[in-house]
Symmetry: C2
Subunit: 344 residues, 2 copies
């Protein structure tokens, strides 16, 4: 937190917007007119346009007692870009709407916005508009991301075919374990002055929770190798839930192998510490923002050689259902969308 | 309110989304893929794309003690479409994000969504995506609208020229007075059972506050008559504030005539009842969602004949400032953006 704290009322809405949107860079030719009119003006004559949106609410999606505002801004953008990459597209623009309650100062919002600008810089995205208002209900962040892709490049959820290989990038469950760790340290810190949280040996988990990166790198590698997934989505609600989406939309079944689900050792250590089933965490813990996709069996040799991509199973005919084959290879467990129900 | 009330937790997030987005109509060829994947897919090969977004928060932008949910849904869409029309474009798609607290039932959200669907039906707009989440403190509505326009048709805020005529559609201040009326009746109703609010003779004010209509009709008339405004925006924060935006962005001054500002008689009656300066209400009361635009002086005869459009003044060189000529014609008052500061 900066030392100087300025009340937002001293600037007013327009003053704050002017401050935040000063000298916004422009990375894309498709951005014709940015912030400053009733609407932004974009132009995509040759490609299809991708649009996705996410709403993040304080107390539901983030807890500012342990989430730094700059990280929050970065993550709010990153999770939207992840949806564009999951269509095999390129993110180009975002709009940012903020609801700000009285306890936030100009400097707080500058921190938040700095994180957003950094994510936009890293991924070549333009901030082209938004809305800023006061809030009675803590911080509200609503981001809409716009991207594009040539028509023949777009990958939907409904294209998986029998015998396709099921692949995931990175590893799973770490962001969820990061959340458990942060919550644990929050509880431990209650009432203590100058409390220093203990993240030693678990830095990766904290990073996965606080600063997820959308997998542009994976999208680029697949393109370089000439592999076009038959279906794809990003893993935000847990592998199990997302795989069920793909199978339902594609009218298929699937088999995944428990022992092929990629899990980082820090995730495993944390699961043991809090006495939680590791595979449950990997299957149902949210916010991984990895890519889940299917490729034709004929791409097996190509896909197996790519670092950071794991083949975890295969697509079946629909009547075979969606199941996980246990580590001992002896039984099959139905996959269920056990991820938290955010509306409960 | 419907009799039967179903807790949202019985459906869960996906169940609710499925219910709300069931059989969404498709009005536009530019909508290639709607709700149901990581992103919607749109296509505008020949036109420029317009993007605008608004965030509406309970307790700030609406009070559910007197705003019916269906009206709220309608208005939330309408105010976004108004921004697209204000660019001289055609709205095509929206995304809808909702934050829902526990006191809302499935039936409540269906009411809200019914209003959104009605507005979309009336204006030929497709709902193509969104996000639904729980909220700890009331209802959150974030809508992004996407429209399009041929490049040579788009009207910005910065094109006003010396001697251009300043025009507004409809009348001003009624929505603000409607808000005062609704607030007055809310206070009167406090603690009373079966209170019946008294809106007699002021139905227009209530309608203007609760169910604004974006001025597609005006956009169509101007196009039919071959009039292209040199600058345009919609009046959401009050005439005074918006006119200052146009003059600043266009580097001009302006003169408007107090006695030419269009005001409905119900607005005048209400202003007298609550002892408020009528012109202040018309200049600074928000949420009119009328169009403010400038046309070349040579369009004077054409524009004067159009019902529902009022020429209220003219654009000047910048050094003359932005002023209103009083009713007696004897003095000039500086225009100020006195609209409420929503961040205070």
């Amino acid at each position: 937190m900066a030392d100087k704290q300025t009340e937002i009322s001293t600037l007013g809405e327009f003053g704050l917007i002017n401050l935040l949107t000063k000298e916004l860079p422009r990375h894309n030719d498709s951005t014709l007119k940015s912030v400053g009119d009733d609407a932004a003006v974009l132009y995509f004559p040759d490609t299809k346009i991708l649009v996705t949106t996410d709403l993040l609410l304080e107390g539901i999606h983030f807890d500012l007692t342990y989430v730094p505002l700059k990280h929050l801004g970065y993550k709010a953008v990153a999770v939207n870009l992840s949806d564009i990459y999951a269509m095999n597209g390129t993110p180009r623009q975002i709009t940012v709407s903020l609801g700000i309650s009285k306890r936030f100062t100009v400097e707080h919002i500058e921190e938040l916005y700095a994180g957003m600008r950094l994510a936009c810089e890293n991924y070549g995205v333009d901030i082209v508009g938004g809305d800023t208002t006061s809030s009675r209900q803590g911080l509200v962040i609503s981001i809409t991301a716009i991207g594009d892709a040539p028509e023949n490049q777009i990958v939907y959820r409904d294209g998986a075919k029998d015998t396709d290989l099921i692949c995931v990038s990175g590893d799973l469950g770490a962001a969820y374990m990061g959340l458990q760790l942060l919550e644990r340290e929050k509880v431990a810190s209650a009432g203590q002055k100058d409390f220093i949280p203990d993240f030693s040996g678990k830095e990766y988990l904290v990073e996965r929770q606080l600063k997820p990166e959308p997998r542009r790198d994976i999208i680029n590698i697949l393109r370089d190798k000439g592999i076009k997934p038959t279906s794809m989505m990003d893993i935000s609600d847990g592998l199990s839930s997302e795989l069920l989406h793909i199978c339902k939309d594609s009218n298929t079944g699937c088999r995944i192998y428990e022992d092929r689900i990629p899990i980082d050792y820090q995730t495993a250590v944390m699961a043991q510490e809090i006495n939680m089933n590791l595979v449950t965490a990997a299957l149902n813990g949210g916010e991984d923002y990895e890519l889940l996709f299917t490729v034709p069996l004929t791409d097996h040799d190509k896909i197996s050689k790519i670092e950071g991509i794991h083949v975890i199973g295969y697509i079946t005919k629909p009547q075979l259902g969606c199941k996980m084959i246990t580590r001992d290879g002896e039984s099959e467990i139905d996959l269920k969308a056990q991820g938290w129900n955010p509306l409960q």
